[in-house]
Amino acid sequence: MGLLDTILRRGARAPARAKDDELFDDEFQKKLDVLSLVSRRVFSGKSRAERRTKKSGSGVEFKDHRDYVEGDDLRYLDWSIYQRFGKLQTRLYEEEEDLSVYVLVDTSTSMGFGDGDKLRQAKRVAAALAYVALANLDRVGVLAVRDAVNRTMQPTRGKQRIFRVFEFLRPLAADGTTELGPALRAFAAQQKRRGLAVLVSDLYDPRGFEEGINALRYAKFEVLVIHLRDAREARPALHGDVRLYDCETGEEREVTVTPKVLARFAEAYAAYGDDVARFCKSKQVTYVAADVSTPFDELVLRVFRSGGFLR
């Protein structure tokens, strides 16, 4: 029996390991090249460091005026305004600098729920976006978050660094509870350079998905939320009297599952997604929702189309 168990257990683990090995295979990398080309074709003519940040600085493109304060560089005083209105106004220019892109991958237990498709999809999407960003000469950092920043790949630059990204993503496993608020606040505190924060998560945060997104917003990051969903979770194969427990928190609920209850659950599941979308829209956060069954390259293109990643 023990031997049989061992064999069965090995047999059961083998496909998962095989899937991890195939996560970033040659086929995947070819698709990354295609995506990179697509991104260049769409935004052709852009050169190095042409991606703009919201940061005002010493660029050449006028952005705004503001009152002069002591210490401002006198070269940026708008003398014509002073001449016409008698007020000291300093010209602000959009600072042109290389963009920092942070890909935040949720590695909580719920991402590995079921057969772990959400986490695999998250890794591939994260790798794809990182590749595109590296190809565009942006600085890319990848972080694994759950109730804290679990692992960090320091921002790096250069297309050839994509393999570091792979190496970073490959061993990530779903474990721990989701607490995006504290985790992303800690991330914001650690990263001095602001930039684009791409959150790839199922947003199953018991404290509420809003807290994590707000933490990024408040820290002046541009936020792109990629909400990974699994349609199978909307239609759980349950019936009768069951005791449900949360795979992360262990919270229990006793439910008698009937077709009516399942229908209500499907409605609640859809409503949760709608809530996230509505929230993001209201906060001008780019939001892309996708089912795990969506091919990753199609998902990345949707991200491109959303405009939150390529500008």
Binding site: S110, F113, G114, D202, Y204, P206, D230, E233, P236, L238, H239, G240, D241, V242, R243, L244, Y245, D246, C247, E248, T249, E251, E252, R253, E254, V255, T256, T258, P259, K260, V261, R264, F265, A268, Y269, A271, Y272
Partner: protein, 628 residues
């Protein structure tokens, strides 16, 4: 209301225990199946709505409990088999006597009268009210109950299928006594007889059968009486030529019209004789077939209408007989020389005689019979049975009494096989002596001596062997000049070796047969005409069994196999015209009371059906998620 199954106290006890268990299980919070979900908060939204309906859920669970308790109650009540007391009191107790005698095999009621009887009994069983009880019994030479007194239709229908036809007469008085005894103390008791009415009077050796208040009904079966049958079939070998035999057959036309019939006789399966006969209404015609030969063992008589058709009762159209076994009998003659004895023994070619001088006795070998002529030595082993002629001395089986002169046979047992076909009253004896029989001996013949009977021929048994003693030297009488002399010798030898030259009638069905068993056997196997084997114990050399089927039977004992035949041979059974009336206890029988197929009043069936129905409802509502 009474409980015919489990008593009420047990039903209540089980109900209490099982009900408590169900309620306990209901109250016990069953551990539910644990299922992981990725995010329980979404379920919270669903459960908030669910809480609003928790009251309905509780009610559903309560309904589920009530449903289980109702199921339990129904099942326990069904186990208790409740009956309405009023219905029980008013129920009938019925004994159905199905006539399975030979005449019930008549084919005038297609396919047979017996099958028609079975149909009627099935209708009765199905038409009983819930409180009626019935017992089915087969009536033939014996009475065999085939069911209990029950209201269970299934048991009754099974019992009816067990009724088997016999070729015997029905013992109506015995069946009536059985039914009366069964119904004693029952209210609304009724005996229903299904028969063609050929039952005879309800009277036996114990007197008239009294049924008291029990109602006796008769269902008349059969329509006509077109039948002729073989009512006697006997055979015998000739005593002096055992290779030849004589057959007597009696044929009876029991129809009220004249019949032309064809009678065939077969010996060992080969046709011996065919005769066409014309019989008047009710005529009994005996027919002799003398001086037949060719058959060594079995004889069969067959009857059919002259036009080749069969009459209504085939069972009496065939009869069987077996000829007695022929074998050589070893005889040891111990004599100083007796021409008359030697000559008489030469007459039977089946005797193997060895003459021995008295001084050479005993000769080597085993003998069936030893004849002691004027001597009486001690009987040696292997001598078999003994015939003593004028025995004297200490080893004589009987003591010699008074000397007799000029005497004759004055008294004798006329039915004794020793004296068959003999004329004795003209025999004169010059001198002899009286034989003094011991206790248990039988005086076969005696002579008057001054008004006193003196035994001169005695039959008895000593040390397990039979003997016959004659109280005079045959040469001192004129018997040796008469036919009586060889007849006496052959009769005695045949009797001692139990070879019979009488008419051998087959056994009659419906009687207790006492079948001769091979010597030394304590039990025998009797193989019937249908191949059925019965093991029967042997007492006093005979195996007793009640025979109900005609045909040839084989008797098996270790190393030996014999056979005998049995025939219906009953004018009463061959008379198949249905009776017009049957009287019991001086009163004519009545029509059976009504049997109508109606609603059964056995509540347990309905209770069980309700329990099954409830289970079905529970199953449907569960799977449709109406009650969960």
């Amino acid at each position: 209301m009474i409980f015919a199954g489990l008593p009420l106290s047990q039903v209540l006890a089980i109900a209490g225990a099982a009900g408590a268990a169900i309620v306990f299980l209901y109250l016990l919070k069953m551990r539910r199946r644990a299922v992981a979900v990725p995010f329980s908060r979404i379920w919270d939204r669903v459960l908030r709505d669910e809480d609003a309906t928790s009251l309905i859920s509780r009610l559903k669970r309560l309904l589920s409990l009530l449903l289980q308790l109702a199921l339990l109650a129904l099942l326990l009540l069904a186990l208790g088999d409740p009956r309405l007391s009023a219905a029980l009191v008013s129920g009938r107790s019925i004994v159905v006597l199905v006539d399975a005698s030979a005449s019930m095999q008549a084919t005038d009621a297609a396919p047979t009268r017996l099958e028609a009887a079975r149909r009627r009994v099935r209708e009765m069983a199905r038409g009983m009210s819930g409180s009626d009880r019935m017992l089915v019994a087969q009536m033939d030479a014996a009475t065999t109950p085939l069911s209990t007194l029950t209201s269970d239709t299934t048991e009754l229908l099974t019992a009816i299928d067990k009724v088997t036809p016999t070729e015997a007469r029905a013992d109506f008085p015995r069946a009536l006594r059985f039914a009366t005894d069964t119904l004693r103390g029952h209210e609304k008791a009724e005996i229903i007889v299904l028969s063609d009415g050929a039952l005879g009077a309800a009277h036996d050796a114990l007197g008239d059968v009294h049924v008291g208040d029990v109602k006796v009904s008769w269902v008349r079966l059969g329509e006509r009486g077109d039948n002729a049958g073989i009512t006697q079939f006997s055979v015998r070998r000739y005593p002096l030529d055992k290779s030849r035999y004589e057959v007597m057959i009696e044929v009876t036309n029991t129809h009220d019209q004249p019949k032309e019939i064809e009678l065939s006789l077969l010996g060992d399966g080969d046709l011996v004789d065919v005769t066409k006969l014309r019989l008047g209404p009710g005529e009994r015609l005996p027919r002799f077939y003398p001086n037949l030969s060719g058959a060594s063992r079995t004889l069969e008589a067959r009857l059919r209408n002259a036009d080749g058709t069969r009459d209504d009762l085939p069972a009496d159209d065939v009869a069987y007989a077996l000829l007695p076994e022929r074998r050589r009998v070893k005889v040891q003659a111990v004599s100083a020389g007796n021409t008359f004895l030697d000559a008489a023994l030469l007459l039977d070619e089946y005797l193997e005689v060895k003459s021995v001088a008295p001084s050479a006795y005993p000769a080597q070998g085993r003998f069936d019979v030893t004849i002691f002529d004027g001597v009486a030595p001690k009987l040696a082993a292997g001598s078999g049975h003994a015939l003593y002629l004028a025995p004297r001395g200490e080893h004589a089986p009987v003591k010699a009494g008074k000397e007799l002169r000029e005497f004759g046979f004055d008294a004798w047992e006329k039915k004794s096989p020793l004296l068959r076909w003999m004329v004795l009253d003209t025999i004169g004896v010059d001198e002899g002596f009286e034989l003094v029989p011991a206790q248990g001996d039988r005086v076969v013949a005696s002579s008057d001596d001054a008004g006193k009977k003196r035994a001169i021929l005695v039959d008895g048994r000593r040390d397990g062997a039979r003997f016959v003693a004659l109280g005079f030297d045959p040469r001192r009488s004129d018997i040796v000049l008469r036919v009586a002399w060889p007849l006496l010798l052959l009769n005695v030898i045949n009797e001692l070796v139990e070879e019979d030259t009488r008419y051998i009638s087959s056994f009659s069905t419906g009687e207790v047969w006492k079948i001769p068993a091979p010597s030394g056997a304590s039990s025998v196997e009797i193989v019937g005409p249908d191949g059925a084997v019965a093991k029967v114990g042997v007492q006093e050399g005979r195996a007793a069994m009640l025979g109900q089927r005609a045909g040839v039977y084989r008797v098996r004992a270790p190393g030996v196999e014999t056979a005998f035949a049995a025939n219906l041979a009953s004018v009463a059974e061959s008379t198949i015209s249905p009776a017009e009336r049957v009287e019991v206890d001086g009163k004519p029988t009545a029509e059976p009371s009504a049997f109508t197929v109606g609603v059964r009043r056995e509540l347990w069936l309905y209770l069980l059906a309700a329990a099954v129905g409830l289970s079905l409802v529970e199953w449907l509502t569960y799977h449709r998620r109406l009650t969960v």
